[in-house]
Amino acid sequence: MELFARTISASALALLCLILVFTLFSTVYGNSEGDALNALKTNLVDPNNVLQSWDATLVNPCTWFHVTCNSDNSVTRVDLGNANLSGQLVPQLGQLPNLQYLELYSNTISGTIPSELGDLANLVSLDLYFNNLSGSIPGSLGNLQKLRFLRLNNNTLSGTIPNSLTNVYSLQVLDLSYNHLTGTVPVNGSFSLFTPISFVGNYLASPPPSPPPPPSPSTPPSSS
C-alpha cells in the first residue's frame, strides 16, 4: 500500500489506476483457504516461480503445487521447504483450519512468526528452520495440542521461550537451537523430554539442567 502512496506522490495518477487494477487482479477471491495462501504468495518473493501454479481464480487451492488437501478439499499441507523463497509470513495462515504440516524450512523468509499460527488446531508439524525469522516465538503456539514437530532452529528469533509450549504434550521433536533466545529454558511439562541439544546456540541464561529421568509411564488421572 505504501507503494501506492509513493506513486501518487509522483503525481502519476494514471499509473496509480493501472497499479490498482493490477493489485485487484491479484486479490481476486478464491475460497477462504485459497485467499489465505494467496496472501502468503503475495508476501513472498519467489525467484524460482515455485508458486506459479497458485492461481487465485481457482475454486480451491487443492491443485496448486506444494499444497495438499484432504478428501474434503481442505488444505492439510503446505510444502515449500528449500524453495528459495524470501519475504514474510502472513497472519492469514491461521485461517487453514485443517492444516497439519507447514513446511517452510530452508528459505530466506524474514519478519516475525504470526501469532495466528496458534489457531492451527490440527497442526502436526511446524518447520520454519533455516530462515531469517526474527521477533519472538508466539505464545499462542502453546495452543497447538496436536503438534509433534516444532523446528524453529537457525533463525534470529529473540525473546524468551514461551512457557505455554510446555503444555504441548504431543511434542516429540523440538529444535529451537541457533537463535537469539534469552531467559531460561522451561523444564516442566512437555519440555521434560528435551535435552540441551534442542536449545544450543542461544543466549539462554544457563544451560538447562540435565533432563530428569523419563516421566513415569503415566500421569495418573486425578482419580478418574
Partner: protein, 979 residues
C-alpha cells in the same frame, strides 16, 4: 563575472599569490560556505562520481554558478534543487539554516539520514521544502510551523516518527502537505482552520496514525486530494466531506474506519477517485453517489457493505472501474449498469447477489473485466455476452447459473480467462470457445457438462490451463490435445472419459499437471508419457489402467506427486523410481503390483508426505535402504504379502502415521516414541510380530520367536500351557456351580460389598504374558483411593506394581442370583484375552479365589485408560457388561453402542432399561454423558479427551442438586475431584 575576476588574478599574479590562502578560505561567500556542508560528510569518491557536485568549486567566490543553486541578484542563495543527487549524508547540516534568503530547498531522494534540524524553522522565506524519499528519522520539528511563507511541504517517504505537530496547522500559505509513508503516530491535528489554501493533504502509509478523521478537514474547501490510506485511523468518514467541492481523490483504503459511506459525498462533484476499500464500512452504497458525473474509480471492496447496488450508480457516466467485491451486497445486479458505456472493469465478486445476469451488461461495450464469481446468481448466461468485444476476463465461478455455455463467447476475441467453475451448467462445451486465439485459461470445473471434449480443442493453441474436472464429459480424451504446446495444466478428473490415455499427450512438453483421476480409462499407461519432463503432478488414479508402470516414469525429475492408486496395474515397481528426486508423495495402492519393494525407493529421500503401497501383492522384506526415508511422514504397506523384520521402520523418525497390517511381518515391534503411540491396528494381522522391551527381542509369550530355540519347544510349552488352562477352567466351573446354591441362600450377604475376608481365600493367578508381579502386589492396591471407575460389572482400580508398572484391575461384582457369574467371567476373559483390537484394552491375565474375580488390564496413559473409563461409563449407562454373554452377539460394548447409535432406533434405547423411565431431564443428561463416553472410546487414542477434559465435559452436563436427589444411584459423583 567569475571569469573576469579570474583574469584579474592571473594578470596580477603577485597579488594573487599573496592572497591565495585567504581567498580559498575567506572569499567564498557565507552562503557558499554553508552549502559546502552538504559535501563535507560525503565520501570523496561519491562526490567525484556526481556530475552535479563536480561543479561545486570551493574556490569560487559565490556558489551562484554551482549546479542546482540559484542566487538572488544580491548573490544570496535563494534555491537549492538537488533532487536525486547522491549526497549520502548522515544528517542534514544545520549550517543550511544560515541561508536566510532561501525560498526553495529540494533535497528529495538524496540519501540523507538523521533528523530534520529544528533550526530550519528560521528559514522564513521558504516556500518549498522537499525532503521526501530519504531516510530521515526523528520527529517533525514543531518549529516548521514558523515557516509562514511555506506553500509546499514534502516530507513523505522517510522514517519520521512522533506526532504530526499541531503547529503545522499554522501554515496558512500551505498548498501541499505530504507526510505519507513515514512512521508517524498519534492522531491528526484537528485545528486546521488556518490551512485554508491546502489542496493536497496526504498522511497515508503511516500505519501508527490513530484516532478519527477530523471533521474539520471537510472545511478545507480547496482540497483536491485527501489521502489517509494504510493508517490506523478509525471512526467514520465525516459527513462534512460533502463540502469538498474541489475534491478529486479521496483515498481512505486499508484503515480502521467504519460506519456507512456518507451520502454527502454525492456533493463532491469533482470527485474522480473514491478509494474506500479494505475498511470496516457497513450500511449500503448511497444512491447519492450517482450524482458524481466525473467519478472514474469507485473502489469499496473488502468491507461489510450490505443492501443492493443502487441503480443510480448507472448515472456515473465516467465510471471506468467499479469494484464492490467481498462485501455483503444483496439484491439483483441493476440492468441500468448497462448505461455505463466507458466502464472497463466491473468487479462484483464475493457478495450475495441473486437473480440473473442482466443482458444489458452487454451494452457496457468497453468492459475488459467482468467478475461476478462467488455470488448466488442463477438463470443462464445471456447470449449477448458475445457483444463484449474487449472482454478479457470473465469470472462467474461459484454461483448457481444454469443453462448452457453460450456459443457467442466465440465472439469475445480478446478473452484470455474464462472461469465458469462451480455452477450448474449443462450441455456441451461449444466448439466456438476453442476458436478464441488468446484464451489461456479455461476453467469449467464442477458443472454438469456432458458430451465430448471436441477435437477442435487443438485450435486453441494459446491455452495454458484447461481445467474441466468434475463434469460428465464422456467419450475419448482427444489425442489432438497433444497439439496444445502451451498447456501447463490439464485437469480432466472426475468425468466419464473412457478409452485409453492418448500417448500424444507426451508432446505437451511444458505440461506440469496431468490429472485424469476417476474416469473410465483403460489400457496401458503410455510409456511416452515419460517424456513430460516438466511434470510436477501426475494423477491417473481411480481408472482401469492395466499393464505395468512404465519405467520411463523415472524421467520425471520434477515430479512432486505420483498418484496411480485404484487401477489394475501389474508387474513390479520400476527401479527407475530412484530418479524421482523431487517426489514427495507416491501412491500406488489398490493395484495388483507384485514382486519386492525395490531397494531403489530408499534413494527417494524427498519422499516426505506419504508412501502408500498398500493393497497390492508385494512380497519380500522391507528394504534396508528405506531407513533413509527419514523425512517420511506417512507410510502404508498394509494388505500385501511382505515379511521379515520391521526394524528398519524405526529409522523413519518423522512418521506420524504407519500401517503395516495384513502382512506376514515378524520379530519385535520397534520401541521408538512413535511406535509407542501407535494403536495395535497398525500392525493387525501380522501374527508373528511381537511386543518388545529392548526393541530387538520379543518380551513375551506366544510370539517370542527369537527367544525360543526350536519349534519343538514352542509346541511343548503351548501344550502344557493349554492343558493347564483348560484343567483350571474346568475345575473352577465345577467348583463354582457347586457353590451356586449356597450363594443363592446367602444372597443377602453376597450382595454386600466384598470385605477383607473375601481376599483371604486362596488365590489363583493366570497370566496371559510374563508378569513381573504377584497376587499380593495386586491385592495391596485394591483400596478405595485407587478406584478409577465403577461399572455394573465391577470396580476398576489403578494398581502400581513394585517395578513401577501400572495396571488396571477390574474386580467383578459378586454374582447375583439370576446370573451365571462364571459365564460372564469366562466369556470376558476368552474374548478379551485373545483379541487385540483398538477398542479393547489388552487383558494381561486374571486372578480369582472363591469369592472374588480380578481381571488385569494394560494401563497405558496415552488414552487407554480414558478408553477404559469410557467403557466403564458405557457399562453404567447401558447396563451391559463390557462383553455381554447373554445376547450371544459377543460384541464389545463399544461396538454395540456404536451400532445402536448408528441405527434408526431412538438414542434412548441405548440406555439401561431401568434408566429409560426416569424424568426427561435426567435422561437427557445421561445421553450427554453417553456422548462423553463415546468421546473416550474414540478409535484413535489421540482423539480421546484427557481426563481433565472429561471432568470439564462432565461439569457441562447440567444438573440441579434436586435432580440428583431423585435417583438412588448417582451416575457420576458431581464433585470436581471425581472422575
Amino acid at each position: 563575472m567569475e571569469r573576469t575576476r579570474r583574469g584579474t588574478t592571473t594578470r596580477y599574479f603577485p597579488i594573487f599569490a599573496l592572497f591565495f590562502f585567504l581567498r580559498l578560505v575567506v572569499s567564498l561567500s557565507p552562503d557558499g560556505q554553508a552549502l559546502l556542508s552538504l559535501l563535507s560528510e560525503a565520501e570523496p569518491s561519491s562526490k567525484l562520481s556526481s556530475s552535479v557536485l563536480s561543479t561545486w568549486n570551493p574556490s569560487d567566490p559565490t556558489p551562484c554558478s554551482w549546479q542546482g543553486i540559484t542566487c538572488s541578484p544580491q548573490d544570496r542563495v535563494i534555491s537549492i534543487s538537488l533532487p536525486e543527487t547522491f549526497l549520502n549524508l548522515s544528517s542534514l547540516p544545520p549550517q543550511l539554516s544560515s541561508l536566510s534568503s532561501i525560498q526553495l530547498l529540494n533535497l528529495s531522494s538524496t540519501n540523507i539520514s538523521g533528523s530534520i534540524p529544528p533550526s530550519f524553522g528560521g528559514l522564513t522565506h521558504l516556500r518549498l521544502l522537499d525532503l521526501s524519499s530519504n531516510s530521515l528519522t526523528g520527529p517533525i520539528p514543531s518549529q516548521l510551523g514558523k515557516l509562514s511563507s511555506l506553500q509546499f511541504l514534502y516530507l513523505n517517504s522517510n522514517k519520521l516518527s512522533g506526532k504530526i505537530p499541531q503547529q503545522i496547522a499554522n501554515l496558512s500559505s500551505l498548498q501541499v502537505l505530504c507526510l505519507q509513508d513515514n512512521l508517524l503516530n498519534g492522531s491528526v491535528p484537528s485545528k486546521l482552520d488556518s490551512l485554508i489554501s491546502l489542496q493536497q493533504f496526504r498522511i497515508g502509509g503511516n500505519q501508527y496514525l490513530t484516532g478519527e478523521i477530523p471533521p474539520q478537514i471537510g472545511f478545507l474547501t480547496n482540497l483536491t486530494t485527501f489521502g489517509a490510506a494504510a493508517t490506523g485511523l478509525s471512526g467514520v468518514i465525516p459527513p462534512t466531506f460533502g463540502n469538498l467541492i474541489n475534491l478529486q481523490t479521496l483515498a481512505l483504503y486499508d484503515t480502521e474506519i467504519f460506519g456507512s459511506i456518507p451520502p454527502e459525498l454525492g456533493f463532491c462533484s469533482e470527485l474522480r477517485n473514491l478509494y474506500l476499500h479494505m475498511n470496516k464500512l457497513t450500511g449500503s452504497i448511497p444512491a447519492q453517489l450517482g450524482n458524481l458525473q466525473k467519478l472514474t474509480s469507485l473502489l469499496v471492496w473488502g468491507n461489510s457493505i450490505s443492501g443492493p447496488i443502487p441503480a443510480e450508480i448507472s448515472n456515473c457516466s465516467s465510471l471506468v472501474v467499479l469494484d464492490t467485491s467481498a462485501n455483503e451486497i444483496s439484491g439483483e445486479i441493476p440492468g441500468d449498469l448497462g448505461k455505463l458505456v466507458v466502464l472497463e472493469q466491473l468487479h462484483l465478486s464475493d457478495n450475495a447477489l441473486v437473480g440473473s445476469i442482466p443482458w444489458q451488461l452487454s451494452n457496457c461495450t468497453s468492459l475488459t473485466a467482468l467478475q461476478l464469481d462467488k455470488n448466488r446468481l442463477s438463470g443462464s448466461i445471456p447470449w449477448q455476452v458475445g457483444n463484449l468485444k474487449y472482454l478479457q476476463s470473465f469470472f462467474l465461478w461459484g454461483n448457481a447459473v444454469t443453462g448452457t455455455i453460450p456459443a457467442s463467447f466465440g465472439n469475445c476475441t480478446e478473452l484470455y480467462a474464462l472461469d465458469l467453475s462451480r455452477n450448474k451448467l449443462t450441455g456441451t462445451i461449444p466448439e466456438e470457445i476453442f476458436g478464441l486465439k488468446k484464451l489461456s485459461k479455461l476453467l469449467l470445473l464442477g458443472n454438469s457438462l456432458t458430451g465430448l471434449l471436441p477435437k477442435s480443442v487443438s485450435n486453441c493453441e494459446s491455452l495454458v490451463r484447461l481445467r474441466l474436472g468434475e463434469n460428465q464429459l464422456s467419450g475419448h480424451i482427444p489425442k489432438e490435445l497433444g497439439q496444445l504446446q502451451n498447456l501447463v495444466f490439464l485437469d480432466l478428473y472426475m468425468n466419464h472419459f473412457s478409452g485409453s490415455l492418448p500417448s500424444e499427450l507426451a508432446n505437451i512438453t511444458v505440461l506440469e499437471l496431468l490429472d485424469v483421476h476417476n474416469n473410465y480409462l483403460t489400457g496401458e499407461i503410455p510409456a511416452p508419457l515419460g517424456e513430460l519432463v516438466n511434470l510436477e503432478q501426475l494423477d491417473l488414479s481411480q481408472n482401469s489402467f492395466t499393464g505395468e508402470i512404465p519405467s520411463s516414469f523415472g524421467n520425471f525429475s520434477y515430479l512432486n506427486k505420483l498418484i496411480l492408486n485404484n487401477n489394475l496395474l501389474t508387474g513390479s515397481i520400476p527401479k527407475s523410481i530412484k530418479n524421482l528426486q523431487k517426489l514427495t508423495l507416491l501412491d500406488l495402492s489398490f493395484n495388483s503390483l507384485s514382486g519386492p519393494i525395490p531397494p531403489e525407493i530408499g534413494y527417494v529421500t524427498s519422499l516426505t508426505i506419504s508412501l502408500d503401497l498398500s493393497s497390492n501383492q508385494l512380497t519380500g522384506e522391507v528394504p534396508e535402504s528405506m531407513s533413509s526415508l527419514t523425512q517420511l511422514q506417512a507410510l502404508d504397506l498394509s494388505h500385501n504379502m511382505l515379511y521379515g523384520r520391521i526394524v528398519v521402520l524405526s529409522f523413519l523418525t518423522s512418521l506420524t502415521s504407519l500401517n503395516i497390517s495384513y502382512n506376514n511381518f515378524s520379530g519385535p515391534i520397534p520401541i521408538t516414541p512413535f511406535f509407542r503411540t501407535l494403536s495395535s491396528n497398525s500392525y493387525l494381522l501380522n501374527p508373528n510380530l511381537c511386543e518388545s522391551v529392548d526393541g530387538s527381542t520379543c518380551s513375551s509369550g506366544q510370539a517370542q520367536r527369537n527367544g525360543l530355540r526350536s519349534a519343538k519347544t514352542i509346541a511343548l510349552v503351548t501344550v502344557i500351557l493349554a492343558s493347564v488352562t483348560i484343567a483350571f477352567l474346568a475345575s473352577w466351573i465345577l467348583v463354582i456351580r457347586k457353590h451356586k446354591y449356597i450363594m443363592e441362600k446367602s444372597s443377602s450377604m453376597s450382595n454386600l460389598s466384598p470385605g477383607a475376608e473375601d481376599f483371604s481365600y486362596p488365590w489363583t493367578m493366570i497370566p496371559f504374558r510374563k508378569l513381573n508381579f504377584n497376587i499380593e502386589n495386586i491385592l495391596d492396591c485394591l483400596k478405595d483411593e485407587n478406584v478409577i471407575g465403577k461399572g455394573c460389572s465391577g470396580v476398576v482400580y489403578k494398581a502400581e506394581m513394585p517395578n513401577g508398572e501400572l495396571i488396571a484391575v477390574k474386580k467383578l461384582w459378586k454374582a447375583k442370583r439370576d446370573e451365571e457369574p462364571i459365564d460372564s467371567f469366562a466369556s470376558e476373559i476368552q474374548i478379551l484375552g485373545h483379541i487385540r483390537h483398538r477398542n479393547i484394552v489388552k487383558l494381561l491375565g486374571y486372578c480369582s479365589n472363591k469369592c472374588v474375580k480380578l481381571l488385569l488390564y494394560n494401563y497405558i496413559p496415552n488414552g487407554n485408560l480414558q478408553q477404559l473409563y469410557g467403557v466403564v461409563l458405557l457399562e453404567i449407562l447401558t447396563g451391559r457388561s463390557a462383553v455381554e454373554p447373554q445376547v450371544g452377539d459377543g460384541l464389545h460394548i463399544v461396538e454395540w453402542v456404536k451400532r445402536k447409535m448408528g441405527s434408526f432406533e431412538p438414542a434412548v434405547s441405548v440406555l439401561d432399561s431401568k434408566l429409560q423411565g426416569l424424568p426427561d431431564q435426567m435422561v437427557q443428561e445421561m445421553l450427554q454423558t453417553l456422548g462423553i463416553a463415546m468421546f473416550c472410546v474414540n478409535s484413535s487414542p489421540s482423539e480421546r479427551p484427557t481426563m481433565k477434559e472429561v471432568v470439564a465435559l462432565l461439569m457441562e452436563v447440567k444438573s440441579s442438586p434436586e435432580e440428583w436427589g431423585k435417583t438412588s444411584q448417582p451416575l457420576i459423583k458431581p464433585s470436581p475431584h471425581q472422575s
